[in-house]
Symmetry: C2
Amino acid sequence: MIKIAVLGYGVVGSGVVEVIERNNAEISRKAGDEVAVKYILDLRDFPGDPHEDKIVHDFDMILKDPEVSVLCEVMGGVGPAYQYTKRALEAGKSVCTSNKELVALHGAELLELAVANRCNYMFEASVGGGIPIIRAVNSALTAERIQAVTGILNGTTNYILTKMAKEGMDYSQALKQAQELGYAERNPEADVEGWDACRKLAILSSLMTGKNVSAGKIRMEGITKISKADLEYARVAKMVVKPLVLGKMLEDGSVVAMVAPFMVPEGHPLARVDDVFNGVLVTGNMLGDAMFYGRGAGKLPTASAVVADVVDCAKHPGKTVWCFWNQEEASVADSSQTRRAFFVRAAAGSQDVLEKAFPEGRALLRSGGEDMGFITPVMKEGEFDAKCAELGDAVLGCLRIL
Amino acid sequence: MIKIAVLGYGVVGSGVVEVIERNNAEISRKAGDEVAVKYILDLRDFPGDPHEDKIVHDFDMILKDPEVSVLCEVMGGVGPAYQYTKRALEAGKSVCTSNKELVALHGAELLELAVANRCNYMFEASVGGGIPIIRAVNSALTAERIQAVTGILNGTTNYILTKMAKEGMDYSQALKQAQELGYAERNPEADVEGWDACRKLAILSSLMTGKNVSAGKIRMEGITKISKADLEYARVAKMVVKPLVLGKMLEDGSVVAMVAPFMVPEGHPLARVDDVFNGVLVTGNMLGDAMFYGRGAGKLPTASAVVADVVDCAKHPGKTVWCFWNQEEASVADSSQTRRAFFVRAAAGSQDVLEKAFPEGRALLRSGGEDMGFITPVMKEGEFDAKCAELGDAVLGCLRIL
């Protein structure tokens, strides 16, 4: 029997217990042995909970129990979670986690610790919830040189932008609705400013390069400045606005990594990824584009991904499965050299100025607007930024175009 | 070093050699050891080919070479391919294949042979080309009870229906273009009648049930009777026509399996899978729907999937990785009990008859048509078939609605 411990009995933790209980036959068949939860670590007591007898408060009890071979760290944060994970791996116990913050910050170090102790640190649930995107990169597309990942990895901002586009809400209305439905936190900063997506992109980019891409080196822009007018212009241009992450390998081995809202052409596979759904396009040099789509968050999809990791650990006792991310810092390229077209929203009457600044661009018209839209030709980001600075107050907003 | 043999130096076989050569560093890193092609088995000689020195004509040479641990069977057909695969597995050599015909016919038996000889029979490339759908079912979504697979798994028919819908071609024009581009065979029967999709669905349904679903038990309808008029009515109803495969687990453990063109609502994730692309929606009881999308055919995408299997074999010497498909015949349910809505194209003037036959249905109008369209309420397939038989010649065509 594979006995596991769940660290943290919150939303994901209770999901892990539920998934293991409800799908026990399938899970045990795939794991090759029966999987059972032995301990649940939490500060709180849960009187009356059907798993009350498994609740413990002392991590050492789990650490010292030789029967426990796999831990699910679903407590979040980087304080105790980091310490517990290190101690578990040092003791040769595998750790499966949904904690993207910890993986983005210490993934390389913890993977090396797992290798040294012939166990596993797995984090399928840290990116894309139930979508098996980490397995796609690590153990499915293994014959590919992965050249780029482009995706929608934050369901909250995708929900907000979908509502703004489809129901004509403005940003604050859509955010309020997302909060009411539990899709956004009371303090929504981590989502709307891009931190959550940034951590996920740091993880994917690190796996793509094999080196460490720090979240802090990723160019990040939130969605808070997007207006209803931007979405109307997007519709006129047959595009939609999506909160994207982009990681791209350059010829010299460096990586361009960026989190920002983009205008995406309607025919693009990511354009139809709406509401709280996530989608990731992986570009390989043999395969071309493959897309993975599904629920990027939520109790059961996320727990399902954690348990899939448990199954993988159970199938590989005494062996490290993944170790393609080392502590050497990846070279993160300056995005100012990246070339693309841009959308500019400008004060009404600025057409002449825009045409002069961006020859060969084209104006976009919307009915009843007090502003104007403009699409530039393909140019370097740095060059675009310089032109915008020159245009000063005439520029009301701008977006990259995929 | 992992030395492999490639059986068949055709399109996929030369792709396998090319992928291993071009991505050797990545592949060897993921495999944990250098991967190299030692033999290429083919009846022909290839004078001047850069791999001429590896060409052999005698299978026994490969079988008897203890250095060769993995064979790529990419020759197709079920004659020699079946014999070679059996003999290789009996000798403890793993086999990776793109041969869907052989997998659909003898997959369960060959998997058991692999288990008995502590090696692997892998077939990622047999379904969905470069899309890692077999891995999704076998080794990624391992915490799920998979309830259904719904997909577009035949690129040729998807291309034909896309051209008919988007460029107003009729069936024969679109087929001719697909043949000119090499997307369809000179004898297109296997694609347009549904055999190719049927084999792929047999494989996925077998993996979903864990038992054997024979292709011959799958209800199969081709796309040859679909007219431009059907596509116009689909547009009026905000739907598209797609060549689908459907496999669904029922409560009693039996499976409904069907290959047929369907009308799919425009907002459905599969509605946007166009041209030669494939897409598969997997429904799990925890995850909900996850979609996998990409190139379902082509030399390099297919070869990439074969090589991903080689990597997996290399990582697991002496160990069988997948064995979730046994020879017991699955119970395939009668699809006449399945409930859904249907589209009927009927002779002009049949509205009264249709409304009588299908109360609560609704008529669809298109401009300039000499026929009429009608959408029935949700009903059992068997009931629909009986009503259609009663209507006789008034029915010009019909399609299921997803």
